[in-house]
Amino acid sequence: MNLVEETLKDAPKTPVQKYTAKDFQSDQDVRWCPGCGDYSILAQVQRVMPDLNIPKHNMVFISGIGCSSRFPYYMDTYGFHGIHGRAPAIATGLKIARPDLSVWVATGDGDGLSIGGNHLIHICRRNLNVKILLFNNQIYGLTKGQYSPTSEFGKVTKSTPYGSVDHPFNPLLVALGAEASFVARTLDRDPKHLQFVIKRAAEHKGTAFIEIYQNCNVFNDGAFFTFTEKDTKDDNVVFIEHEKPLIFGKERDKGIRLEGFTPSVVSLTDGKYSVNDLIVHNEKDTMLSFILARMSSIPNLPRPVGVVYAVERPLYEAEMSRQIHQAIQKQGEGNLEKLLNYGETWVIN
């Protein structure tokens, strides 16, 4: 037993009493702009946490820098406000050292995909059991309004008065390209769905990557209103669910069908196609996940929202612990005296 185990041996492994959302509110004043989408994300996370059956002393939220990265301050768990882009690497170190903790990363489209892109894809490929909430507001909020790697081509911002000439990342595709084992998308303005997806991520064993569409009402107001507002949402979002066909529309009268690999919208009322012609979602289908992720780049298709991909594969930290366990089993607990005297030695009298 090391000193950490020794020290924490009596700490409860499950919550002693049933938490409420309020238990997860820290004593810090929340300082996002009034109206910011971050508030809702915070509220939903705080609402979901009691359901996870994890004592809050075992939870850690780690972030980089950005408005979104202020998140840890507001959670009454352990919190670590890191440096720009490096949260996944900090989380990796912590999770390897302490597989017993529930480790969460809060990041932004700039933090996670611009400066931090490399750590993000590496944590995905390694598959540490860390949950990543990427607040995508398609803008740099904290630095007051430059375009981000998810901003649309041609976007006019402080740093691109003539419009940006950058082709944006598709965050889901980046995560899938790095072979993340869990990839999902949800919306700041859909509390239920947000809660659902967070819970699913928490249950997943492995790196869970969640893109959250988040409104920055100060520098990029309404970027996702088509997908989040009442009057347009139903016709522009398809909520995907495992083993369910892709149906959407205010009247649930439209669906997504594949022609070859190309998804297209079909009407379920004009007699041409029925529910049976539609894509049936399968979270474990790698290729389907690419098709769904790509849909955001194809005009006139609704935006898929939900758990796009979820498969299990070995956990990095578990494999590492296994190696250590095996080494100890085979060679015995390390003996310092033996180590220092290992190999060739000689005695001078």
Binding site: P72, G79, G82, G334, E344
Partner: protein, 608 residues
């Protein structure tokens, strides 16, 4: 045949050949045996920059130097007395480090036309008289090896690979060393291929017999055992010692060791070494880059492990931002910088001491970090141990400076008993009563280590300026100044905790030679030599570079002149001048090579 047996106090031998010629192995065997017979010694391998340079070229030459004696040995030797050269390129590259009158043992068979040309020789130096100031012994090592193995039916390639043992055998004869240790090693090493045991043993013995029976060597040497402290010894390189020092600190403290590192020469071997010791629960994480290396270590430290990262040159540069974070968070991480030649990619396989100012000053804003340096290969053990100790006690990042020379060099090490190692007794905060993340220990000014998993201590930290005691984000001007000074004070306070600096030699005098890190051996040798000549010169070697030990100023003021030899353009000098306002004389060498003690002696002569 009866040959002269001469006694020597100390000898330096260099084995040199192609990268593929097994010179490192030969050197290491000679070292082991020499250690076993009780000499003090110091070694230095000298790798080519290329992985496998084409055979026969000068840039593919691999060398191994060993300096051993019946007296105290502190450096691998300035110049060699004996040079074993397996081919012309090896001769060409190493001749300048051979003493006038020194012995050359050359593999005559390696000096064929092709190799001569590759090395850039117009004529054969073994024959053209150009080596007349040396004692040249041209031995047909390849042919003799073939002869020795003629009846074994081995392939040419295998036979060729044995020829280094012929050379080794000759050297064992010449310096009256026993063959048994190497024969035992051969038996162990090749236990799965008995024909190689036979072959290598035969060749080794053949080389020995060759010395014994042929006429070409008239003299044989004896180097008596050195009066070493009694005890069990081993040979250890700097990087091994560093890795083991970290493990020892882990064992002593009861904390797991976490290494987040990205490979880079000459630091990679620490990663390699630590990754072997999983039964010590050491977790090694080969990160995607140096930034992930240090930030993962910070994450691990935050979680209650000893977070360590190891690197060099460009890798150290990349850690700059995260070092600032560690300063702000006040978490214990140890950053080992195995310095190499720079700037930029520079001279990756060569040594240098030019990252001192970076270690002390090289971050945005006021971000003080303790800096300590290793003096010798074995000293890396203590230095690593001490770094962890300070990091844990003061809740601070610590920079450990080693260098390529110290890292790859080896020396005999009196194995410490585990009980003799100082205690490290970290404590995690557990009591929620009165807990504040930045409420400091009165004595050390360290903040509490409150690891995730502890009920009731949930709190939040980060890189923004924080309020004294509560650790909450604070933009308050006075608080900022207070915290900036507090962080500085915490580091300064370490000076009260560490032992006072010790002068070697007189406490007052005409000249003080002040060094740090890997120049220890060269300076010590030089100063000892000059003191033996009766000069008023002393030696101060600074292990603690930030903060300086409390009595450093006092010591400096006791000498008329201060000489600071450094493998840079005068970095310690700058620190001493700025702090103590004393004039210093810099002896600078920036060649990717360690000092020769003679270079320091010459400078001392000039000044006295």
């Amino acid at each position: 045949m009866n040959k002269d047996l001469k006694n020597l106090d100390e000898v330096t031998i260099r084995f040199a050949g192609d990268s593929g010629d097994g010179m490192q192995l030969t050197g290491m065997q000679f070292t082991s045996t020499t250690a076993l017979v009780g000499n003090d010694l110091s070694t230095l391998p000298d790798f080519p920059a290329e992985i496998r340079a084409p055979a026969g070229t000068t840039f593919g030459v691999s060398g191994f130097q060993i300096h051993f004696g019946s007296t105290e040995i502190n450096t691998p030797g300035d110049m060699c007395d004996v040079l074993v050269a397996m081919n012309p390129a090896a001769l060409k590259v190493n001749l300048r480090s051979l003493e006038d009158g020194g012995i050359i043992i050359a593999n005559k068979d390696g000096f064929n036309e092709k190799n001569l040309k590759l090395a850039g020789y117009q004529s054969n130096p073994l024959e053209d008289g150009s080596l007349s100031k040396y004692q040249v012994h041209a031995v047909a090592i390849t042919a003799l090896t073939h002869n020795a193995l003629a009846d074994l039916g081995l392939s040419n390639k295998v036979i060729e690979r044995c020829k280094n043992f012929f050379a080794l055998g000759m050297m064992y004869w010449m310096f009256t060393r026993p063959l048994e240790p190497t024969i035992k090693w051969i038996q162990e090493k090749f236990k799965k291929t008995p024909e190689l045991i036979e072959a290598n043993t035969r060749v080794l013995k053949a080389g020995y017999a060759f010395g014994e029976t042929t006429e070409i060597f008239a003299v044989r040497y004896q180097v008596k055992p050195a009066p070493l402290k009694p005890g069990r010894y081993r040979s250890i390189t700097g990087n091994e010692a560093l890795a083991w020092g970290l493990i020892a600190a882990s064992v002593k403290s009861g904390l797991d060791l976490f290494l987040g590192s990205y490979p880079i020469t000459p630091a990679s071997d620490i990663l390699h070494e630590l990754s072997k010791h999983k039964n010590f629960r050491v977790k090694t994480f080969q990160a995607e880059d140096e930034i992930a290396g240090i930030t993962s270590a910070i994450g691990a430290s935050y979680g209650g492990a000893i977070g360590v990262t190891t690197t060099s040159g460009p890798g150290m540069a990349l850690k700059t931002e995260a070092l600032g974070l560690a300063v702000m968070l006040e978490v214990p991480v140890v950053v080992c910088n195995i310095q190499r030649g720079g700037p930029s990619t520079g001279l990756p396989t060569k040594t240098e001491q030019a990252d001192l100012l970076q270690a002390v000053y090289g971050r945005n804003s006021e971000a003080p970090i303790p800096v300590i340096a290793a003096n010798t290969p074995a000293d890396c053990f203590f230095t690593a141990f001490e770094s962890v100790k300070l990091a844990l006690k003061y809740m601070t990042p610590v920079i450990l400076l080693s260098d390529g020379y110290v890292a790859n060099g080896a020396e005999p090490w009196l194995i410490p008993s585990v009980n003799s190692l100082p205690d490290i007794a970290p404590k995690f905060r557990t009591d929620p009563e009165g807990f504040y993340p930045y409420l400091r220990d009165e004595k050390t000014l360290a903040r509490p280590w409150a690891i995730p998993g502890t009920p009731g201590l949930e709190h939040r930290i980060g890189g923004l300026e924080k309020q004294h005691i509560t650790g909450n984000v604070s933009y308050d001007p006075e608080n900022h100044e207070f915290m900036v000074k507090m962080r500085q004070a915490k580091v300064d306070r370490i000076a009260d905790d560490i032992p006072l600096a010790q002068v070697e030699g007189d406490q007052k005098g005409d000249l003080l030679v002040v060094g740090w890190g890997g120049t220890y051996g060269a300076i010590k040798t030089a100063v000892d030599n000059k003191r033996r000549e009766g000069r008023s010169v002393s030696h101060l070697h600074l292990k603690y570079l930030n903060p300086f030990q409390k009595n450093v100023g006092e010591i400096l003021y006791n000498f008329k002149n201060i000489l600071v030899p450094e493998l840079n353009l005068g970095q310690l000098s700058k620190l001493l001048r700025a702090k103590y306002l004393v004039p210093t004389i810099t002896l600078s060498k920036v060649q990717g090579l360690p000092f020769k003690s003679i270079e320091i002696e010459n400078k001392i002569d000039e000044l006295l």
